[in-house]
Amino acid sequence: MEHEAHNPALLHHFADAQQQKNAASLGMWLFLVTEIMFFGGMFCAYLVYRLAHFNAFAAGSQQLNIWMGAINTAVLIVSSVTVVLAVKAAEAGKRKVLVGYLVVTVLLGMTFLVIKGFEYAEKFEKHHVPGPTFNFTDKFDDNGKQIPVNPKEAELFFSLYFAMTGMHALHMIIGCGLFSVLAILAWKGHYTPGYFTPIENAGLYWHLVDIIWIYLFPLLYLISRHS
């Protein structure tokens, strides 16, 4: 997680470059664990409430746009591939390829956010934003059987939906910012085969944000679509 202005990148308190790299990597992994626990609290809330209010949650889930969700999942997966390829390029010293992959990653991240924006806009139109404008009259479609649900419980579903996807989107924004900065630094030649730790560690962050979405997508969008 340290970054310096020149090669050699060795910081004075480390014995050698390998120790520094290993330290940075372990530090990043520990930070990722904190992110897992951070989102985990919301996953816990979601699971508890889904059990308690299954019908309402399923009805809310059925109102989400599964196409946008699926496309976003694909976008993130592709962006994870570009991240891995960026690291490979850094390792091989291919500066322009590295910058290219970093830029593509940022563009894919922005694509994700734009699609999310459309999804949120749709929520506004359908009056599914919790608060005074919330209005939920849809029913839970259980194999053709229409079961009415408590709109209050549906509002809880959407509260969690916005909280979880909103927090995820915030992390995406941070990730896009991070990768933009890295792209600029990479263009300037900061990263060599001997030192590309920030690219690797930022990549770990991006992959974790991807993994969080990998779980968010089925849990939010795919509760009960059979009919």
Partner: protein, 552 residues
């Protein structure tokens, strides 16, 4: 980098002209330092400020409780006073104190390293602490918070008019300070040990901080998200804990206590680590059962995550969950007891001396044991129903937090003061303070066990007149305790100018920190040490000299 084998019984080096304290005199050299020792001193100053601030609120509580009626302040004000006392003491004193002051200072030196793995993140940790502290001070000055430090929903999410979001933000930021400290410690301990320093040769203080850091990493994010959800509910009316929306206020409590219970192990483990260092030095013996103590720290860290709902026995959780958590809570006593037994066994046939740090270590063992045993009372469902939310609980946690954490901290502060400052504190005054603290502490909090058992509820601003006598005793004890705490403030500052100059190893103690000068140079060692000896090798260290190190 040349490395040298430092023989186990080599004479300590003389005090150098240039050390970390005088290496740069400008404010900038302190406020932009990346030297872990300077950061530890910065923490020492800020943590002490918050300790006295929290203590000020404690004084207000005890003054109000001198009489059964509410006469010093309004009921609402009293709510704010005990909330601020709790918030400040928990988040801005107890959680950071030993890791950020003693841990920051000592861990790199104990490992033979030049600094922590991420010195700039270490500085960031301090700034985050300061920002959190400024926020909570602002909250305090603009009306305070009245929910109790546990800010339960729905009072915190909906009904109170006080600055929950700002106070929550303060705790959130302080939480990140904690996370970064823990992250730094884990990476440093894994990656930066000196050659020859295997895990089984580490001082147990390092093991203790390692276990603490695991808790910091795993637990703190959960309270972070809980605070976010509370803020989101207050600001945007997303009702996650709102029963009208099918939410459950108890979910808040589950998420809150998932961190806040392990948090108490963040508080106690480092102090237990200190006690290992003190007991061995002042009985001139190797620790009994090194591996057991090391592993018991890890066990406490892991088991600490399995017991949180024992704070919720009467809140409305299911009976079966209560039984499970009660059962799991009993297990936590085991590793703690292992430590107490091992310390006792270390003392056996040791050559015991009674310098101030050792007095604090004895105080810790006795008072922590009492606090811990009363924890078992509380783990017992039937008893808990009777004493929960009474002064019994208050007494229990003050025994472990003040009798435990604070005693360990003070013992460590005295023990390592010569290392940190190059000066000895005045031993006679220090012994007097230790005595005042011990007497004052017991007088303050033992009556509270009785008060709780006979039914006085906690967080109450007035009480039935028959409870007054015990309350008066408690307040009297608190004033003695306050004197006990003020004295070290005075004599520590005095010692900086007038204290006897300490050499590198005034206690003839084992450990790498005593092989470098007092105070250490900025990069800790002139040459990287190579460790070939086991921890606490007191059988190899020259015998204790009776006249050293007590200052006259």
């Amino acid at each position: 980098m040349a490395s040298t084998v430092i023989p186990a019984n080599q004479a300590p080096a003389p005090t150098p002209k240039l050390n970390y304290l005088n290496n740069g005199h400008t404010l900038k050299s302190w406020l932009l330092t990346t030297d872990h020792k300077r950061i530890a001193i910065l923490y020492l100053i800020s943590v002490t400020v918050f300790f006295f601030l929290g203590g000020f609120f404690a004084m207000l509580i005890r003054l109000e409780l001198l009489t059964p009626q509410g006469d010093l302040m309004q009921a609402d004000t009293y709510n704010k006073v005990f909330t601020m006392h709790g918030l400040i003491m928990v988040f801005f004193f107890l959680i950071p104190v030993v890791p950020a002051v003693l841990g920051n200072f000592l861990i790199p030196i104990m490992l033979g390293a030049k600094d922590l793995a991420f010195p700039r993140i270490n500085l960031l940790s301090w700034y985050l602490y300061v920002v959190g502290g400024l926020l909570i001070s602002h909250v305090m000055l603009t009306g305070g918070v009245d929910t109790g430090w546990t800010f339960y929903s729905p009072f915190s999410t909906e009904y109170t008019n006080t600055k929950i979001v700002e106070a929550g933000l303060a705790a959130f930021i302080a939480g990140f300070s904690s996370i970064f400290t823990g992250l730094n410690f884990i990476v440093t301990i894994h990656r930066m040990r000196a050659p020859g320093l295997t895990w089984s040769r580490l001082p147990l203080f390092v093991w203790a901080n390692y276990a603490t850091s695991i808790i910091m990493i795993l637990g703190t994010p959960v309270i972070a998200i809980t605070i976010v959800l509370v803020a989101v509910e207050r600001l945007f009316h997303l009702g996650i804990f709102d029963p009208r929306l099918g939410g459950d206020p108890l979910l808040f409590q589950h998420l809150f206590w998932f961190y806040s219970h392990p948090a108490v192990y963040i508080m106690i483990l480092p102090s237990m680590g200190v006690v290992n260092e003190l007991i061995t030095c002042f009985s001139r013996k190797r620790i009994f059962g090194y591996k057991f103590i090391a592993l018991s720290s890890i066990a406490i860290a892991v088991l600490g995550f399995l017991v949180w709902a024992h704070h919720m026995f009467v809140a409305g959780i299911s009976l079966y969950a209560a039984m499970i958590f009660s059962f799991l809570t009993f297990f936590i006593g085991v590793p703690s007891a292992v430590k107490v037994f091992n310390w006792t066994a270390t003392l056996y046939k040791g050559s015991i001396s009674y310098a101030t740090p050792m007095l604090y270590a004895f105080g810790f063992i006795g008072l922590f044991t009492m606090g811990g045993l009363t924890g078992l009372f509380l783990a017992t469902l039937g008893i808990d129903v009777h004493v929960t939310d009474t002064y019994f609980v208050v007494a229990h946690f003050h025994y472990v937090m003040v009798g435990g954490v604070l005693m360990g901290y003070l013992g460590g502060l005295h023990f390592w003061w010569p290392k940190m400052t190059g000066r000895m504190y005045p031993e006679a005054w220090a012994k007097l303070s230790a005595l005042l603290i011990f007497v004052g502490f017991n007088l303050t909090f033992f009556p509270q066990f009785i008060l709780g058992y006979v039914g006085m509820p906690r967080r109450y601003w007035q009480y039935p007149p028959e409870f007054q006598a015990l309350n008066v005793l408690s307040t009297a004890g608190a004033s003695i305790l306050a004197a006990g705490y003020l004295l070290p403030m005075i004599y520590f500052v005095w010692s900086l100018r007038y204290g006897k100059i300490a050499d590198a190893n005034p206690w003839a103690a084992a450990g790498l920190e005593w092989k470098t000068t007092s105070p250490p140079p900025t990069f800790n060692f002139d040459e990287t040490p190579v460790v070939t000896w086991e921890a606490y090798n007191y059988d190899e260290i020259p015998p204790w000299e009776r006249r050293a190190p007590v200052a006259r």
